[in-house]
């Protein structure tokens, strides 16, 4: 049993071990009975105090495909009373004996705090603007798949949008650099994180300056209040400077791919329909969500040797 907290804690060796499990997980998903006994008798509790139906359902499907039992606590069902601390909530859930606690929270650091208060393996399903390690793992898998290469060295990834408030950006930067890719972060300066110069990446405030050199164009979801809070006076100006449009699509290198963690704000991150764009691998990202999370749960709870026989 081990936690899955941030990419830094996971490290390169373990990340590769998790990624190596993904094809087997995808194979399980393609079986007529898409289920194996690997985690039978284990319980995975979802503690989703920030609402995210997509990620929660993805973890839930992953746990069930491995025959784990699941239970779910959301902000509305966990009925956190006034005066009940996060620690109280975690200890109450832990008393039910889950083997893993999948934690999603709007505040950075919560999975680390939770890990100090529970015996269960804590899996970070996204904390504040800090880390979203399973998203980064599925993105790395998607990039390898789409570019048909194991090695990401020499691959240039541009991440565009609200880097400052993005856990997807932080986890991706950490993992992509670990895997050998080079990264450029594209955002207006108010949306670049403080200290970005120490991240080992390039930073730019012009998408047009960098788009022609990218193998991967990764568009982040941008929240409207962040745009008017400092990036641009309105979504229209933001879209003109940082959104993907047909002119920018034409400037993409041959073979370059376009990614987005979803859900897309139509007309903001892209005025091009990403579900129809040939370069888009957004559908692959969605499809890889469950197998990658199966691999993560297996790594956290059972190790690679667990049984893959059918239920």
């Amino acid at each position: 049993m081990r936690h899955v907290l941030g990419i830094g804690e996971i490290g390169l060796e373990r990340a590769e071990a998790i990624l190596a499990l993904v094809p087997r997980m995808a194979e399980v998903r393609s079986r007529s009975v898409p289920k194996v006994a690997a985690l039978r008798g284990r319980t995975v509790a979802m503690l989703f105090l920030e609402d995210s139906t997509r990620t929660r359902l993805s973890f839930d499907a992953a746990a069930r495909a491995l025959s784990a039992d699941t239970m779910t606590f959301t902000a509305s069902t966990s009925s956190m009373k006034k005066g009940e601390s996060l620690r109280d909530t975690v200890e109450t859930i832990s008393a039910l004996g889950p083997n893993a606690l999948v934690v999603r929270h709007r505040t950075s650091g919560v999975p680390w705090q939770v890990a100090a208060w529970t015996e269960a393996a804590v899996v970070n399903a996204g904390d504040g603007a800090h880390e979203h390690p399973t998203q980064a793992l599925l993105d790395a898998h998607t990039i390898r798949e789409a570019l048909a290469t194991e090695s990401l060295s020499g691959v240039r990834v541009g991440i565009v949008g609200d880097i400052r408030h993005s856990r997807v950006a932080r986890s991706n930067v950490r993992l992509l650099r670990m895997l050998g890719a080079s990264v450029v972060l594209v955002a207006p300066s108010p949306l670049q994180p403080p200290g970005v110069e120490g991240w080992g990446v390039d930073a730019s405030s012009s998408l047009d300056d960098v788009i022609g050199g990218l193998d991967v164009l990764y568009l982040l979801r941008v929240q409207a209040e962040r745009i008017t809070g400092g990036a641009a006076p309105d979504a229209g100006e933001y879209a003109r400077r940082f959104g993907l449009d047909h002119a920018r699509v034409r400037r993409l290198r041959p073979g370059a791919i376009v990614m987005h963690p979803g859900p897309v704000n139509p007309g903001v991150e892209s005025s091009v329909d990403l579900s129809r764009l040939p370069q888009s691998v957004v559908g692959r990202q969605v499809a890889n969500g469950v197998p990658v999370r199966m691999a993560v749960l297996l790594d956290a709870l059972a190790g690679a040797g667990a049984g893959m026989e059918e239920e």
Partner: protein
């Protein structure tokens, strides 16, 4: 009932003297060799210092008694060698009326372990909209006014407050924070906050208000005290203002001398404090500011919170940490001060700023008030190994090596702490 403090080194106006000290009633009756008393306290290896004075204590009563009461905060103070605490006004109700101020003072008297000196609010309810009844509060004995927890955002209101305070001969103490720059902040804005994805509190939010208030002091001929300065640039601004001859004083909190923003990597809300822990370079500049006298006083910003306000996500956690019990040990570890420096920064300077001299802050002298701290300034201990005295447990010093420990405290001629234990 006389008390003899035997075998110590007394820090007097004439320097350090190896002598016993005899306390009789509320005064020091003799300093010399071989003094005997009804009670005798061993001061071997210790310095006899003036009792410490804290310009910045959150006692939480009235309104937040689950965090601290005046009695438990007084206990923490006595353990830390304090004989006077200036009680911050962010209580509920706030200390903006004579009734509340009198209540705090009387609870302090009832506890009987330190002098509890209520500060008053600058603005009614600390809301920053209109002035509190400064003259009535001053008539009731309040000498220091602050909206601590909030800075006074409105420059016009602050300008009027400085003029009124000048008329009344009291001091305004500013919590420097331009709030439009710090909404939602949980830590210093820095490379760490960028890496951790935590909303940052930029240094400039403090420095803008320090600069504004220095300009207002020049403009009004008023006087200001800056609470808990946290940045290198703030120190430089105060240094320049003092060189100009303006009536400006400043304090620093122990945690800003010894901790830095890297502590937030643990995501432990015990390290969330306002203003936030800053960079190692800021901490070094603050230490230099204390050494060269730019910063007059060390003041704890003792801010107790119950577990349920700390064992929560960082954005929900209340800011603040315990300080009274360990302040001397932190100052020792951070600054390696001389005994006279300790007396200056922890007693005489804060007493002068709050208008408490000569009852507090005076070096031990025959005929002087018997408010004394007996401390082993070279004692090494680890934070967490000694009781805090507080009702709350948000102690950032657990596991931290500290230098300097209080052995006895004498307040008003009575031993309030003997061998590190509170005497109720």
């Amino acid at each position: 009932m006389t008390i003899a403090l035997r075998g110590g080194t007394v820090v007097t106006a004439d320097g350090e003297v190896r002598a016993d000290v005899l306390v009789d009633g509320g005064v020091v009756s003799a300093i010399g060799p071989s003094l005997r008393g009804d009670a005798e306290l061993d001061a071997t290896g210790c310095h006899v210092l003036p009792g410490f004075v804290d310009l910045h204590t959150h006692l939480r009563e009235p309104g937040r008694e689950e965090a601290e009461t005046i009695a438990t905060g007084s206990r923490a103070g006595a353990l830390g060698g304090y004989t006077a605490l200036v009680a911050m006004p962010n209580t509920d109700p706030a200390q903006d009326s004579v009734t509340t101020v009198e209540f705090v003072r009387s609870q302090g008297r009832a506890a009987g372990l330190v002098d509890v000196l209520p500060s008053g609010c600058i603005t009614a309810g600390r809301r920053g909209e209109r002035l509190a009844p400064l003259a009535d509060l001053a008539a009731a004995g309040v000498t220091l006014f602050t909206d601590d927890g909030n800075g006074v955002q409105d420059a016009s209101l602050m300008r009027r407050a400085l003029l009124v305070a000048r008329d009344l001969g009291v001091v305004l103490a500013q919590h420097c924070e331009v709030s439009s720059l710090t909404a939602g902040a949980v830590m210093d804005e820095c490379a760490c906050s960028g890496e951790l994805g935590l909303p940052g509190w930029p240094a400039v939010a403090e420095e803008l208000m320090v600069q504004r208030d220095i300009d207002l002091v020049r403009d009004t001929g008023g006087r200001i005290h800056f609470l808990h300065l946290s940045t290198a640039r703030s120190v430089a601004l105060v240094r320049a203002a003092k060189a100009e001859g303006l009536a400006v004083t400043a304090e620093v909190a122990p945690h800003h001398l010894l901790l830095d923003h890297g502590a937030l990597r643990s995501f432990d809300p015990v390290f969330k404090v306002n203003p936030p822990l800053r960079s190692p370079a800021d901490a070094a500049a603050l230490r230099e500011g204390v050494r060269d006298g730019t910063i007059d006083a060390v003041a704890t910003d003792h801010a107790p919170h119950p577990a349920w306000n700390k064992e929560v996500p960082l954005d929900e956690a209340s800011p603040g940490m315990l300080g009274l019990h360990a302040a001397l040990g932190v100052v020792g570890a951070a600054l390696s001060p001389s005994p006279m420096d300790v007396a200056r920064m922890m007693s005489s300077a804060p007493a002068r700023i709050a208008g408490l001299s000569p009852r507090h802050g005076s070096l031990p002298a025959v005929g002087g008030a018997a408010n004394l701290c007996v401390a082993d300034l070279s004692a090494r201990w680890t934070g967490g190994d000694r009781p805090t005295g507080s009702r709350s447990a948000n102690d950032p010093w657990v596991g931290v090596p500290l230098v300097g420990a209080v052995r006895h405290t004498v307040f008003g001629g009575r031993a309030t702490v003997v061998d590190g234990e509170v005497q109720q």
